[in-house]
């Protein structure tokens, strides 16, 4: 690799060649196999360096998120000792006897609050560090849902088909009792093929539960397939209805 070629490779990758020089460069890539092989090697090194040093912020955010979720996952899954288990059952039985009578007399339907647990969201991952995304994230996680909706509206203005944002706005709208708008958002997500599809169905079912529209709620719950993460809780709620 001679020095001139190296500078040329860099200028091409950096997009600083004028259009004529760029054309000539590309023509040479086609005609001269050794020039192309040498450029490909240079590019491979440049890509490696970019992976190593660029976008570190994004990678750190990803690793932190991963660590938190991993910790949560493995703590949740940690199996308690036999003795603790026995005490847990004993405590549960006492609790059931104490409150069971109340439920029997009252014949209560399951309550929204027993099932709803809003996810903690994380929207600021990209190196652009969009301040609006940070505001939306903070408002949502602090349960200031009205505020979160305003920010999510702005974010969706620029990215109207973002399934993740639509899901979060749907959840926030259920919290603020804007059910019509919530179901519009959640239906959009549920009819798509994103990974948020079943979560959207579950959140819609919760909205209907909150509205005490039990029949419609059941109809949505049965749409959640057995392969979904939400299947078990959906079945659990169905049984109670």
């Amino acid at each position: 690799m001679n020095e001139l070629d190296l500078e040329l490779y860099e200028a091409y990758l950096d997009n600083t060649l004028d259009s004529e020089a760029k054309k000539a460069f590309e023509a040479r890539l086609l005609d001269d196999a050794s020039f192309k092989a040498s450029f490909d090697s240079y590019k491979e090194t440049s890509d490696y360096l970019s992976e190593k040093f660029t976008y570190q912020e994004d990678l750190n955010a990803f690793e932190n998120n991963l660590k938190n979720i991993s910790k949560e996952h493995f703590t949740k899954k940690a199996s308690p000792s036999y003795k603790t288990e026995i005490w847990k059952y004993a405590a549960a039985i006492v609790l059931l006897i104490t409150i069971g009578g109340y439920f029997l007399m009252d014949n209560n339907e399951p309550q929204y609050n027993d099932f709803a647990s809003q996810p903690t969201i994380s929207l600021v991952q990209r190196s652009s560090g969009d301040p609006m995304a940070k505001k939306a994230e903070n408002a949502f996680n602090n349960k200031s849902f009205k505020e979160a909706i305003n920010y999510l509206n702005e974010l969706l203005g620029n990215d109207p088909n973002n399934q993740e944002l639509l899901l979060y706005r749907g959840i926030a709208q259920i919290e603020t009792a804007a059910y019509g708008n919530a179901y519009k958002d959640l239906d959009k997500v549920a009819s798509g093929s994103s990974v948020y599809k079943n979560e959207a169905l579950w959140q819609k079912a919760l909205g209907l539960l909150k509205q005490k529209n039990y029949n419609k709620c059941k109809l949505v719950l049965v749409e959640i397939p057995p392969t979904a993460d939400e299947y078990n809780k959906a079945q659990n709620l169905l049984k109670k209805l």
């Binding site: 190296l6 860099e10 240079y42 090194t45 955010a61 998120n65 979720i69 991952q125 990974v195 993460d229």
Partner: protein, 193 residues
């Protein structure tokens, strides 16, 4: 992988790329228990499994971000295979362990196998690049780090106290030098063979 179409599970890759907590949670709930099962049955424990899973997910994230990973098989098969290989390497490293490998949960998927092979080669290449980068002189190391972190050559030149033209030329020379060292290394030649 010409000819193979992208699997619908590409959605997990997209989710990892945008660092979506819901997607990551879903991966932990659906696919991680199988990995934990495999590792604990093969001389490992839950902590070891936790580390393997994290390393593999970070590597998949990097592969997706920088190499445009496109899944042509179910995520489960790909992820499990990468975790399994990572764990078998760990075991090999600690040669004192006597291990009987329990393979009952493994199902072979050709596309997954091929993707995992490509993944392994990429990881090994990266190790060669890392080793060679360390062998570069400090001036090159500092300049490359600065130019790839900062992006604006003007700022880089200012930070390093050199002219714009010098920074630019030096960058291409340093990349050229690293390229030469990597290409000439026998480990890299073996990987390309």
């Amino acid at each position: 992988m010409a000819g193979s179409s992208i699997h619908p599970d590409q959605k997990y890759i997209e989710g990892l790329l945008i660092n979506s907590p819901l997607v990551i949670k879903s991966i932990y709930d659906r696919f991680v228990p199988k990995v934990v099962g495999y590792i604990t049955k093969n001389s490992g424990n839950e902590d070891a499994a936790k580390d393997v899973v994290q390393e593999v997910l970070v590597a998949i994230y990097n592969q997706a971000k920088h190499k445009g990973l496109q899944l042509t098989c179910p995520f489960d098969a790909y992820f499990f295979l990468l975790c399994k290989r990572r764990w078998l390497n760990e075991i090999k490293k600690s040669s004192l362990k006597e291990v009987t490998i329990n393979e009952e949960v493994v199902s072979i998927n050709d596309d997954a196998q091929q993707l995992a092979d490509e993944f392994d080669i990429e990881q090994q290449k990266k190790l060669v690049f890392n080793r060679m980068f360390q062998k570069l002189g400090d001036a090159c190391k500092d300049l490359l780090k600065a130019t790839f972190e900062i992006k604006s050559m003007d700022e880089v030149a200012q930070k390093l106290g050199v002219t714009y033209a010098y920074a630019r030329k030096k960058k291409s020379l340093c990349i050229g030098e690293l390229t030469r060292m990597v290409q000439e290394s026998s480990e890299y030649k073996n990987l390309k063979a």
